[in-house]
């Protein structure tokens, strides 16, 4: 696996979905009311790291904040958030109506485009 990431490709992907994703990110009110809709949050002693909003803000949110200027280590960090901490069951509920699963799925697509995804041996899949 190469250590470099194709930043231009990431920037292109981020730009293509910018109007929608930036609106979602900016309209997340950080109210934490989505927490209980995530079974992983409920089953992990209500650890805030499993809140849907936390997962989105710390994966896709950071990608947009950095404008795609990220390295492989960063993508490896968010790999755990978007694959291990979320199973994309689409049951999360946002009172404002933000489409949380779409954002996680998009963050996964970006990771996957750079070859960052869970290995077969990884036990959490």
């Amino acid at each position: 696996m190469s250590t470099q990431v194709n930043r231009e490709q990431i920037k292109g992907m981020l730009k293509a979905h910018k109007p929608r994703m930036k609106r979602y990110l900016s309209h997340c009110m950080h109210c934490s009311l989505c927490a209980e809709s995530c079974f992983l949050y409920m089953k992990n002693d209500k650890d805030p790291r499993y809140m849907p909003s936390y997962k989105v803000l710390n994966s896709l949110g950071k990608l947009y904040r950095k404008g795609g200027r990220v390295d492989r280590a960063f993508l490896e960090d968010i790999k755990e958030i978007v694959w291990k901490n979320c199973v994309l069951c689409k049951r999360c509920y946002c009172p404002v109506g933000v489409d949380i699963p779409a954002m996680i799925a998009f963050a996964r697509s970006i990771c996957r485009s750079q070859g960052v995804h869970p290995d077969e041996e990884q036990s959490w899949l």
Partner: protein, 246 residues
């Protein structure tokens, strides 16, 4: 300074309202142009149509056989609809977070009602346009403002002391809360003549205008996007049929 105050009192009010309404229209227009495509994957509307057709058939056969409808029969669909809504409510945020739900509803309703139905604002409105909206008494709006500020205090408390909210809170959330609460705090102070009245009124006007300008372009945009996003959701939470896609 006198010129600055005159500007804040006069042209700035119109600029703020102009930006506010234009911003809302632009954001709404942007939403509908971006989401013109319909989502083919899940269309709840079609299910409803099928059900309706079936119902119509059964009603027709019944009508042929039996007596005319009573009032209760006619009300039945309405009762079933209310029942379904109540079930949804039971499984909603009201059940999981009753306190936050009630506080947030009061907060948002008062956020609109207080400035629009305030007697003093309506007097200014009458001076500008020659007519005014109905207004509540000063005592009522005063009491409502106290409740509103307590609700705002509740949100601030959550941001600082509740672990899960703190985990996703940024400095910008505090700014947004301050932008929302400042016009009400200063309005409350002005009504009670607390502090230096001209300064309090100046801060009141600037913060109110700032809030109006920021609404369409920041987090506060959920004022319009709350309704728009729900047109997208293909579920019981949708305001439309949930057909739209981006």
């Amino acid at each position: 300074m006198a010129q600055f105050v005159a500007f804040i009192k006069g042209p700035m009010v119109w600029i703020a309202f102009g930006v506010f309404f234009a911003g809302l229209i632009i954001q709404g227009w942007r939403f509908f142009t971006m989401s013109r495509k319909k989502d083919p994957a899940y269309i709840p509307g079609t299910e409803k149509k099928k059900k309706k057709k079936k119902k119509k058939k059964s009603k027709k056969t019944k009508a042929k056989k039996k007596k005319p409808k009573t009032i209760m029969d006619r009300l039945q669909p309405l009762i079933a609809f209310a029942d379904k809504r109540w079930d949804n409510l039971e499984n909603s945020m009201f059940r999981i977070h009753p306190l936050v739900s009630v506080v947030t509803i009061i907060f948002h309703v008062f956020l609109f009602v207080i400035p629009i139905l305030l007697l003093a604002h309506n007097e200014l409105f009458r001076a500008a346009f020659g007519f005014s909206l109905p207004s509540l008494s000063d005592q009522t709006t005063d009491m409502m403002t106290i409740i509103f500020l307590l609700c705002g205090g509740f949100f601030l408390f959550r941001r600082i002391f509740v672990r899960r909210v703190r985990a996703i809170t940024t400095w910008w959330d505090f700014v947004m809360l301050a932008v929302t609460l400042t016009p009400f705090i200063t309005g409350f102070m002005a009504f009670r003549q607390w502090g230096d009245y001209p300064t309090v009124m100046l801060v009141h006007m600037i913060s109110g205008e700032l809030m109006l300008i920021l609404i369409p372009f920041t987090k506060l945009g959920h004022m319009i996007y709350f309704f728009l996003y729900r047109v997208l959701i293909g579920s019981e939470y949708s305001f439309g049929q949930g057909k739209r896609a981006w």
